[in-house]
């Protein structure tokens, strides 16, 4: 290739650009009559089928009244302008939040506890902008902390696990060894013990660094070890690593068409990941929490501080659908619903491991 042909290629490219400039397709300009919402995802990105996906579903529902897959979400569209950034690495989280703030967005949502300190830095510089952090805690006057009573939901799936277990041993697989995950573990343990006080619970954590959320191989090995020690139901709270537990119970196989070992999913409804092997999922309705904070801002009723989503507001719960209806008997549902009523009424107190 000669330099002449390179130059002509360049000229062609410039022509193409000029052509594009002529048909003037404009970006949705900042229409100040509408509420602007910006969401900054965690490293996992918005298609992780779990935690981030739930947050994305919530804002998408607020924008259009539909889930990201186009089905109606059963709530009203709120007439907002929605923009999202997937930072992809930890260094881009702060610039992403600041990009929304500099543009004068009304509400900036951060997904994941790791964003809390970064959000505090940004929120201090922009006291007139509303911020919301999912799973994180901040006491600034313009930050709403959206937190979940994971221990209450875990209590219910702990009951279901203990009722399903034939061996009297159940497992818990945590991701990163931090307070937030201890909350799942403690609730699960108390729920299981309320059904069978002698039940044995084996617990393992994948690791102590961020990498612990994304190590399905180790998740599987730990789960197989738990199965080896007799556990026949395993509750995962380990992000992507939890998928290893799904593989492990599938490997244990089926007898007479029924799985011998079960796994309990987390955050989103994961019952369809390995149908027949997933007892239920401890769902965390991040979508509901995110939708209502957007709604608050639209209605000018935003309140900073803690927004706690427990069983009472359907913020947490266990999932039932066509994939697990044969695994959970009506009696089990009855006892779980009974416990749910008692927890809401305050008759059963579930320990919050983060309040130690």
């Amino acid at each position: 290739m000669t330099s002449k042909s390179i130059l002509s290629l360049l000229a062609l490219g410039l022509l193409a650009l000029a052509g594009a400039a002529c048909h003037n397709q404009s970006y949705a300009a900042d229409d100040k009559s509408k509420i602007h919402v910006g969401i900054v995802f965690d490293i996992g990105g918005k298609d992780d089928r779990s935690f981030n996906a739930a947050a994305w579903a919530g804002v998408k529902c607020a924008e259009s009244g539909k889930w990201p897959n186009g089905e109606p979400c059963g709530k009203a569209a709120l007439n907002i302008v929605l923009r999202d950034i997937e930072p992809g690495n930890p260094t881009s989280i702060e610039p992403a939040m600041r990009a929304f703030a500099e543009r004068g967005y009304d509400l900036i949502i951060g997904v994941g506890f790791a964003q809390a300190p970064i959000m505090e830095m940004v929120a201090k510089d922009y006291p007139n902008i509303h911020f919301a952090i999912v799973d994180g805690i901040s006491e600034l006057p313009n930050v709403a902390s959206l937190i979940f009573k994971e221990h209450e939901g875990s209590y219910l799936v702990g009951m279901l696990a203990a009722e399903t277990s034939k061996s009297g041993t159940i497992g818990f697989l945590g991701g990163m060894d931090i307070g937030l995950i201890h909350r799942f573990e403690k609730g699960y343990e108390e729920g299981a013990k309320s059904v069978n006080p002698n039940i044995r619970i084996i617990q393992n954590y994948v690791g102590v660094t961020d990498g612990a959320w994304n190590n399905p191989g180790k998740g599987k090995e730990l789960s197989l070890a738990q199965i080896g020690k007799g556990a026949d139901v395993i509750f995962t709270a380990a992000g992507n690593s939890g998928l290893g537990a799904f593989d492990a119970v599938e490997q244990a196989g089926k007898v007479n068409g029924r799985a011998t070992h079960f796994v309990i999913g987390v955050d989103s409804n994961q019952n369809m990941v390995k149908p027949g092997f997933v007892l239920t999922s401890m769902v965390k309705r991040v979508d509901n929490a995110v939708y209502s904070i957007v709604e608050d801002v639209v209605n000018k009723k935003f309140q900073a501080g803690f927004h706690v989503y427990g069983l009472d507001k359907d913020g947490v719960g266990y999932s039932m659908d066509q994939f697990n209806k044969d695994l959970i008997t009506p009696e089990m549902i009855k006892s779980a619903e009974e416990a749910k009523r008692k927890i809401i009424a305050g008759e059963i107190k579930v320990t919050d491991a983060m309040l130690k």
Binding site: A21, A28, S92, M176
Partner: protein, 355 residues
């Protein structure tokens, strides 16, 4: 005329990259003019845009200079990433351990920690190459993994605030904070993390230039890079030059720690580097292995980094990956220049640059 010739290929490369990127944006279904307006407009707005662009350029100037010094000696330092991690941790370690001391003692000690730690981490592959002839590319890559894992370990088990779910060390002493430029420049808010490390980067750029082209040591270093056998014949110890070049290279990379720890986060934060060490190779290449070229290239990459976030957030379909595409195409075209001149080869770029 010579200067013009030096500038024309990088400029063409950047232009070509924008054209290719524009075609991609068209294919995605967005408007390239609007996207570029967003990209460049957000990066050059005052004060936030310019402040952040310069802030993002700061570590790239350091790593670009680091790669350049090694390059001039005929070495490829791919280990700037590991060197800057080790240095940043060392800086934070001094800042935490001696937190009570006054700024007059603490800041010079922290500077020294950054330079020494980076220098040592760079010297190791240099010594291995000089003593045993093991290739510096392999060794620097391996030392990246070792360095990053090592400081992660220390952060996790020894220097983290107990109960903190985030992988970061505790905070350094107040005395070790260096001033943000907003403190001196009217109209630049202090929330923008652009700090004195940027000035330090510019000073380093001049120092590297003076060292390489105005001193005997710089001459020996460049002579080794240009032709090791001729240099040896001329009485220059190649082994010594390799170790010196890698040590200086590592020290320059290590100064990223000053920007990050003393000027920005005031703690060691695991994963803070957005591949600064590797982008430094691209910066050095685009900057034609000249200190002043490195500054210009780093500024361009700063613009891309700042603007990429805006394009991601505020365009309809384009994500910030477009920045990766632009960077990739720029490098491709710069590297292809040697091909156009018929000098394609592993050290074609070096061969051309006159000693």
């Amino acid at each position: 005329m010579k200067l013009l010739r030096e500038l024309v290929f990088p400029l063409l490369a950047v232009l070509a990259a924008f054209v290719v990127g524009g075609i991609l944006i068209l294919l995605i279904g967005d408007n390239p003019i609007q996207a570029y307006k967003l990209l460049i407009g957000s990066a050059l707005s005052w004060p936030d845009g310019i402040g952040y662009t310069l802030f993002y350029a700061t570590p790239l100037i350091f790593t670009g200079l680091a790669v350049l010094v090694a390059f001039r000696c005929g070495l490829l330092n791919i280990g700037a990433e590991g060197q800057l991690y080790v240095a940043a941790f060392a800086t934070a370690w001094v800042g935490i351990t001696l937190a009570q001391r006054s700024a007059w003692i603490l800041i010079p000690l922290c500077f020294l920690a950054a330079v020494l730690a980076g220098g040592v981490w760079g010297a190791i592959p240099g010594i291995l190459k000089a003593r045993f002839g093991s290739h510096e590319v392999i060794n620097t890559i391996m030392l990246n993994f070792i360095g990053i894992a090592l400081v992660s370990y220390f952060t996790q088990y020894h220097y983290k605030v107990p109960g903190d779910p985030i992988m970061e060390s505790s905070e350094i002493g107040q005395g070790a904070h260096i001033a943000r430029l907003g403190h001196f420049i009217h109209g630049l808010p202090e929330r923008i993390p652009l700090n004195l490390a940027f000035v330090l980067a510019l000073i380093c750029c001049v120092l590297v230039y003076l060292f390489l082209w105005r001193t005997k040591w710089g001459y020996e270093l460049r002579a080794t890079g240009a032709s090791p056998t001729a240099a040896e014949y001329g009485g220059i110890s190649i082994r010594k030059q390799i170790i010196i070049a890698m040590t200086i290279s590592g020290s320059l990379a290590g100064m990223v720690g000053i920007n990050e720890v003393l000027g920005y986060r005031h703690r060691y934060y695991d994963g803070f580097s957005d591949n600064y060490g590797f982008t430094g190779i691209a910066v050095a290449l685009l900057g034609r292995n000249h200190p002043f070229g490195v500054v210009i290239a780093a500024l361009l990459f700063g613009v891309l980094q700042r603007g990429g976030i805006y394009v991601d957030g505020f365009s309809e379909h384009v994500t910030k990956d477009i920045v990766q595409v632009l960077q990739g195409v720029i490098i491709l075209f710069v590297a292809a220049e040697a091909f156009f001149r018929g000098q394609f080869g592993s050290f074609g770029l070096l061969k051309r640059s006159k000693v």
